[in-house]
């Protein structure tokens, strides 16, 4: 199997504005192409688009607008983790030798059909994610004595990080008390505990190890991948757990030959505040009981180890682009290019992206 590295990255600003997906895709892909050395459109032999948008043939459309005639071109949809699924597909094409260099571009418009899974009849008419978000939050409070303040710290921390992310949808600081006093959506969710759907695009270029040095002075290798889908229905989840994340993390650590304690920086899927607490526990960085304390300590010491770009809560959640933006952040961190957000001496980074209440998780480990 060929080794695979990230050689280029590009993003658009995330925003609440309704924007045309084809234009957004072109913008982030163009930024990505401009970030690499010695670019030649003939070198890209794969173009993958991740999105929940219903527009057709986006892989071919993006290829044509960029003047690329790839061997492989198609779209990938897997709800909120479409982005990492597309990157992992690109990895598989390159590692198998079917492709040498793949452009992966994720995109979403602010109003997109990926927010509701109509197939899941077990949700009845309570199909919006706030209902499962409330169940997970209430259950975490009940089982692990998690406090309202600990949940608010996740959001305050991630909003604070997002202030230094020029691509984030929110650049507003939010204090713990502002989060705690923000509008109650349900008894267990405040508006500032929720990530918000928005428009945006992000792109990444992957290449085989052999080609990577031509295009980047600092290629970042993908050393571990773990994925697991446990169901599609939210109601098949065990409350208080994200089983898919635990299994995917184990697979990713084994492949990368690392342990959780070696991770220097991680982007985790904070769809709601409680998801960050659950994710860091399932990833083995702490326990469920201590997850609130863990995040409080990060906040108090201004340690940006978890969600340095602001996570989904701070940066926004354009579904198809999210996993790619998470991967770009970890890439930049390992390249030492994260400016104010930089974690000093970061060597190993992790991306955690999930779908539909954690029924599916995708995890990648990157090394510099």
């Amino acid at each position: 199997m060929n080794k695979v590295a990230i050689v280029g990255t590009g993003q658009t600003k995330f925003s609440k504005d309704e924007r045309d997906v084809e234009k957004l895709l072109f913008e982030s892909a163009s930024n990505c192409i401009q970030s690499v050395n010695n670019y030649d459109s003939n070198d890209i032999d794969g173009v993958l688009v991740s999105t929940n948008n219903n527009s057709k043939y986006l892989g071919a459309i993006l290829s044509e607008t960029l003047g690329i005639r790839p061997k492989i071109s198609h779209s990938i949809e897997h709800l909120c983790s479409s982005g990492t699924n597309a990157i992992i597909s690109a990895y598989a094409y390159i590692s198998s030798g079917l492709s040498d260099m793949v452009l992966v571009s994720g995109v979403e418009s602010a109003t997109n059909p990926g927010q509701v899974l109509e197939w899941d009849r077990s949700r009845g008419n309570l199909e919006h994610p706030i209902y499962w978000g409330s169940m997970l939050t209430k259950s975490h409070k009940r089982k692990f004595q998690t406090t309202e303040e600990e949940l608010a710290i996740v959001s305050a921390k991630n909003h604070k990080h997002a202030m230094d992310n020029p691509f984030a949808y929110s650049n507003e600081p939010r204090t713990i008390s502002e989060v705690m006093n923000s509008k109650q959506i349900t008894d267990d969710l405040r508006i500032l505990d929720c990530s918000r759907s928005c428009s945006g695009s992000s792109s990444i270029l992957l290449a085989s190890e052999e080609k990577a040095k031509i295009f980047s002075d600092q290629p970042i290798e993908i050393t571990g991948i773990g994925q697991k889908t446990t169901s599609a229905s939210f109601t098949k989840n065990i409350l208080g757990e994200i089983e898919s994340t635990r299994i995917a993390a184990d697979l990713a650590y084994k492949m990368a030959k690392i342990e959780a304690k070696q991770i220097d920086v991680a982007e985790v899927h904070d769809a709601f505040s409680v998801c960050e607490l659950m994710a860091i526990s399932e990833l083995g960085l702490t326990s469920n009981e201590k997850s609130g304390e863990f995040v409080r300590d990060l906040f108090n010491t201004e340690n940006r180890m978890i969600n340095p770009r602001g996570g989904l809560i701070g940066a926004g959640h354009p579904l198809g682009a999210t996993g790619i933006s998470q991967t770009i952040e970890i890439t930049n961190q390992l390249q030492g290019k994260s400016d104010k957000r930089q974690i000093s001496n970061a060597k190993i980074g992790l991306i955690h992206n999930m779908s539909a209440a954690g029924t599916s998780s995708s995890i990648m480990v990157l090394k510099n």
């Binding site: 077990s122 009845g124 309570l126 409330s134 169940m135 349900t186 008894d187 267990d188 109601t235 409350l239």
Partner: protein
């Protein structure tokens, strides 16, 4: 509309199961995912227990487990704060999407 949805419209929650495997199939499917034989139907007892709950505006809602381990999200009708494990009685309807609601017993 599927048989399941049609029956919800009549106020009946039909449980899909496989006679061959003695397994409940949820969400309902015409074919068993294990043996691939045609599945069968039986009416729910409409009795369940509260697994978790929260409240939106003035309405409680929650995750309820009914017959054979089937779990659904629905509204909980209760004059007092619900409790985990509390017994509930389900009523159902269908209007472009399923609607499950649960009355707390001895409320």
């Amino acid at each position: 509309m599927t048989f399941f949805e049609d029956q919800l419209k009549e106020g009946v929650f039909q449980i899909c199961y496989c006679k061959n495997c003695n397994d409940t199939i949820w969400p309902p499917k015409e074919i068993c995912h294990k043996c691939h034989n045609r599945t069968d139907w039986k009416k729910s007892t409409n009795l369940g227990k509260i697994m978790e709950f929260s409240k939106r505006e003035s309405t409680y809602f929650g995750l309820i487990e009914i017959d054979d381990g089937i779990r659904v999200l629905g509204d909980i009708l209760s004059s007092s704060i619900p409790e985990i494990g509390q017994s509930v009685r389900m009523s159902v309807s269908f209007n472009s999407k399923p609607h499950y609601s649960f009355l707390v017993e001895n409320n």
